[in-house]
Amino acid sequence: MKIKFLYLNLTNYPYIEEYLDKMAKNGYILEKILLQNIFIFKKSNLKNVKYSISPFQYETALNILTPDEVNEFNDACSNIGWTYIEKTSNLFIYYTVLSDLEDIHTDSEVEFNVVYKLVKNQVKFHYILLPILIFLTWIQLSNIYSSPDIITNSLSQIQSLLIPLASILVVNELIYIRHFLKLNKNRQEVNEEIIFLKRNQKFYSFIMKLILFLLAIFIINILFMGVMLGNKFIVFAYIPLLIGSIFGFLYRKFIKVKKSPKKNKLFLLLLVLVFAGSLSFISSLLFINDIASDIENKSFEIMDKKASILAPISYMVVDNSYNDFNNIEYAKFISEDLANIFFNRKIKRIKANIKSRNIPYVNDLLAEKDFLPPSRLERLNLSLEDFEEYKKLDTEDAQDLIINKLLDASFEQVDKNILPLDFDEAYFTSVFKDDLIIKINKEVYILNGVNLDNGESIDKNLLKLIEVSNKL
């Protein structure tokens, strides 16, 4: 067996055909193509093997072609002596050992049209994909600089490499196939042969191999987190993908094959997409409800367990006994520097959350003309007098002042005497002093809904947490 990494596309398939012929002469025939680029050859004694790569649109859930149409084409090829091996990138690969066999494509003008049309579709697809990837790249890159979660979440870390690499690949492909179209644009009109491109594969191969490697790690990570760490949230994140795949399969299997007009099929496809989207949304809600009711009566329930190179363990502890705390986020890092970065980013995130959560509330209050009961101002740590003063100002200024005052009141350094713990740094993060963020060496704890009247109990729970973490 031999495995080769090759770039096969509508722009270069005659060169790959030549390569396959050469491999056959050396005693290796193509057995399978995995992931579009990995060509698996097996040793063979067959003599005079000849390949034919034929451009033909293949059937997917999103195009109007049916499997029967593809099968009919395949049958016709096998009827004249070509044996089907594999399909990839709208190219069907056949071989034969018979000599003087009729070609699969006998009209170069028609072949030209097919290739040109399919390549144009590829360009359209790349133009749709590119803005999405650029947007995702932008999100991922900004996450690298600001998100605390990227340090604890291995999937985010892989994505932040995978998505920019995919964007580079798509840009590279787009340049390449546009060049192909430009080169051939006027040749068809003057009945000239199509020019295929003999591509230098080094750059493409390097990026593609990296992407495949990262994808493999991504999948292993999902399995590890789902199966080994029992993280239910991973399942939740992939519900839409799962439902989409099931519906795509069902649509292809039962609706596309029906003998009905193409317009009806397109309408049904739209219905299926809407239905699958709604179902994904509803099942996600049901899933969240399920988790919420599952943990409702549990105390000290560890969930959302994650592991990454930078943070070997992180999770959330939910406690519904409502005695000492509601939940604790915990993360342990490989270095204190990383713990500091996470700690500071988390504080920034909490501040941003406080701001975004309270701005609409502040605006509502400022818009009210009736008398406000002081209880409605407690959440903002404002007295009625102060509020009346702010109300006299311009709305935007008043909003800024109130929010800044709220942030000042929410964030307060925790006194070493309040918590009987040997911590490096700790802050209250809410007005009512029931939320805290604590850093101890390489560990960060984020506690919500804490009952500080019972300091000993917090200490006991944190110690329990440390004990649990050490065992994980």
Binding site: I104, H105, V110
Partner: protein, 109 residues
């Protein structure tokens, strides 16, 4: 109805349209072309199955039945018109050629 770009049909296009003056499915079309041209012209499956949906989209042929997952097509009036135009064009080519080769070229400088 003119051919979309007013271009001549290729040999394959011509014979595929010609073969569909009677209902035929894919493999039958290939066989028929091979038979009537005494194997002088062959239309490969890649060419045929690219032309059939294109002609159907252009309204030159229509699918009339699907049996055993094989689609049977028949030429339409528009397709017949294209075919007639092509035959006339070929007649003119032939006549021009014969005229000149017989030494009756009145346009010689």
């Amino acid at each position: 109805m003119k051919n979309k770009k007013n271009k001549a049909l290729t040999q394959s296009m011509y014979y595929v349209l010609l073969s569909l003056t009677k209902p035929r499915h894919g493999y039958e079309i290939m066989q028929y072309i091979s038979d009537i041209t005494k194997k002088r012209v062959s239309v490969g499956p890649g060419t045929l199955y690219a032309l059939l949906p294109k002609f159907e989209e252009d309204g030159y042929i229509k699918m009339i039945s699907t049996d055993d997952n094989k689609k049977t097509y028949l030429i339409t009036d528009a397709g017949q018109e294209i075919l007639n135009e092509e035959i006339n064009r070929l007649r003119l080519l032939l006549s021009d050629g014969e005229t000149i080769l017989k030494g009756c070229d009145n346009y010689e400088n």
